[in-house]
């Protein structure tokens, strides 16, 4: 049924829709009604999308840290634009180790049409962003970006430690990031370190991350963003060899599902073909029983 004029009820519905404050069912109902071609409701939806934009435009501007600009610009230097999001990416032998993390083609969300639809399927943790930017560069240039970040962070940290105006949390965040980057840099400078992209499975598409493995020193590093594990369960990493799946360790995640784990790998993994992450009952299993949550293969 199309409306012939805007009533209070229509305005309420359209305003709540623009704010994403309808239930999913209500939002879907309104969208179906719009799709049926009701011009009155379409006009109200547009008006309130503009009103919602006003709320956002009123936000205070804040200067973003300078290193984010560098990360972004370095990233787009190598990052191809997507003419067709469905087309497969070519991965030559050069690229294979470099292409570690790919953002999914996120659906553009129309202004105000927030209800029930999310523009981004997953969050990209800061650390992953920095590492990706660095890995995307490849060759001798590879770690310049990450090194620059590490330098900046150290400078920022020194400055923050002296001056006021930083909360304890901010200081802790800075320190932790600086240490994390140092760990990654140290690891990646070494020869013979293998890397693989941990890719989520159909049931867990939001999981993503990377794994660096120094087989010679039997150390591995996992940087990932996973959905938070259900209560009483843990993410466990395994290496698959032609003979068996060997437990490597449990991946501890923070409340947001972010993982930065340094693990020792067992002996006899020279022929490991792939890495697998499963969800196991805490504190972990001796052989994988739970569902696969992410996998990555070694060359």
């Amino acid at each position: 049924m199309k409306h012939d004029r805007a009533t209070e009820e229509i305005r309420e519905l359209a305003a709540l829709y623009a704010l994403g404050a309808l239930t999913q069912q209500e939002a879907r109902g309104f969208e179906i009604h719009l799709a049926e071609g009701c011009g009155v409701c379409r006009a109200e939806q547009r008006r309130f999308a503009r009103a919602a934009a006003t709320l956002g435009l009123a936000a205070e501007e804040r200067r973003a840290p300078e290193y984010l600009r560098d990360i972004l610009l370095e990233r787009i230097e190598r990052e191809p634009q997507a003419p067709d999001p469905g087309a497969p990416q070519s991965t030559g032998p050069e690229e294979e180790s470099g292409r570690i993390l790919e953002l999914p083609p996120a659906e553009a969300s129309p202004a105000g049409g927030g209800s029930g639809r999310h523009g981004f399927g997953r969050s990209l943790p800061w650390l992953l962003a920095a590492v990706c930017a660095a890995l995307a560069l490849g060759g001798g240039f590879a770690w310049k970006s990450a090194r620059t970040d590490a330098g900046r962070l150290r400078a920022e940290l020194a400055e923050a430690a002296e001056g006021a105006g930083r909360t304890g949390d901010e200081l802790r965040t800075l320190r932790a990031r600086s240490a994390d980057l140092d760990t990654i840099l140290e690891m990646t400078r070494r020869q013979g370190v293998q890397s693989t992209h941990l890719v989520g499975q159909p049931a867990t598409p939001a999981n993503s991350g990377m794994l660096l493995w120094d087989a010679g020193r039997r150390r591995c590093l996992v940087i990932a963003s996973f959905l938070p594990a259900p209560r009483g369960q843990v993410y466990q990493l395994w290496f698959s060899t032609p003979e068996a799946r060997v437990p490597v360790g449990v991946l501890e995640a923070d409340a947001g599902g972010r993982i930065l784990a340094r693990l020792r790998t067992p002996e006899g993994l020279e022929r490991a073909l792939s890495a697998v992450v499963t969800l196991e009952p805490a504190p972990g299993s001796v052989s994988p029983e739970g569902p696969f949550c992410a996998t990555g293969s070694f060359r």
């Binding site: 309130f48 009103a51 934009a53 936000a59 990052e79 953002l103 129309p110 105000g112 927030g114 938070p228």
Partner: protein, 200 residues
């Protein structure tokens, strides 16, 4: 359209209009991308920080958003004004943490009595100073009860009934406050558009 120039930086009158910038970005122009970033990142970062209340999450959101714009520029030809689209996208991305159960700041700048803070001295260029200033004035003009509810709705992921439960107001009252507040903002935006057109 009369616009003030951001302190210490280029105003939009000196730079290119956002649609033109996006057009260049679609053609793979990296300098245009850098200009878009310089012009809009203070707004994007401020908005993401205002909603998440967490610098790390705001930084992630910022990188995600600009990477998304770059990679998907060809697909993004919004019929809505680019700035409106950007703001909606930032909000959507910033609310992701809340959907995962993380705490949030809940659009502090919209709450009644929120201080009208000047932009960082070093912020430089702003996205659209005139439009942003009008938006701040429009929000400041809203009655406190409407601001309170709009702050909760905009800065969070709650449905109308959930907002009612949190605030102890009847759901009908919440709906009315949303309608009145949003209608006032919509009317303000319409007046600005009419005024801008008459100047052209």
């Amino acid at each position: 359209m009369q616009q003030t120039v951001g302190s210490g930086g280029k105003g939009p009158s000196e730079g290119q209009a956002l649609p033109a910038l996006l057009g260049k970005i679609r053609q793979g122009d990296r300098e245009a991308m850098a200009e878009l970033y310089d012009r809009t990142s203070p707004l994007v970062f401020g908005l993401a920080l205002g909603i998440t209340g967490d610098r790390a999450r705001a930084e992630e959101a910022l990188l995600d958003i600009y990477t998304h714009i770059w990679k998907n520029a060809a697909a993004c030809d919004p019929v809505v004004p680019p700035l409106d689209w950007l703001v909606a996208t930032v909000r959507e991305r910033a609310l992701l943490g809340q959907r995962r159960g993380l705490p949030s700041a809940g659009a502090a700048w919209l709450r009644p009595g929120a201080p009208r803070r000047q932009p960082d001295g070093e912020t430089g260029a702003t996205a659209a100073p005139g439009e942003q200033e009008r938006a701040r004035a429009a929000v400041a003009d809203l009655p406190d009860a409407q601001r309170e509810i709009l702050a909760r709705a905009y800065g969070g992921t709650l449905s109308c009934d959930e907002i009612a439960a949190r605030t102890g107001k009847p759901a009908g009252a919440v709906k009315t406050l949303v309608r009145l507040g949003m209608n006032r903002l919509a009317e303000g935006a319409e007046e600005d558009e009419v005024e801008a057109r008459s100047r052209d």
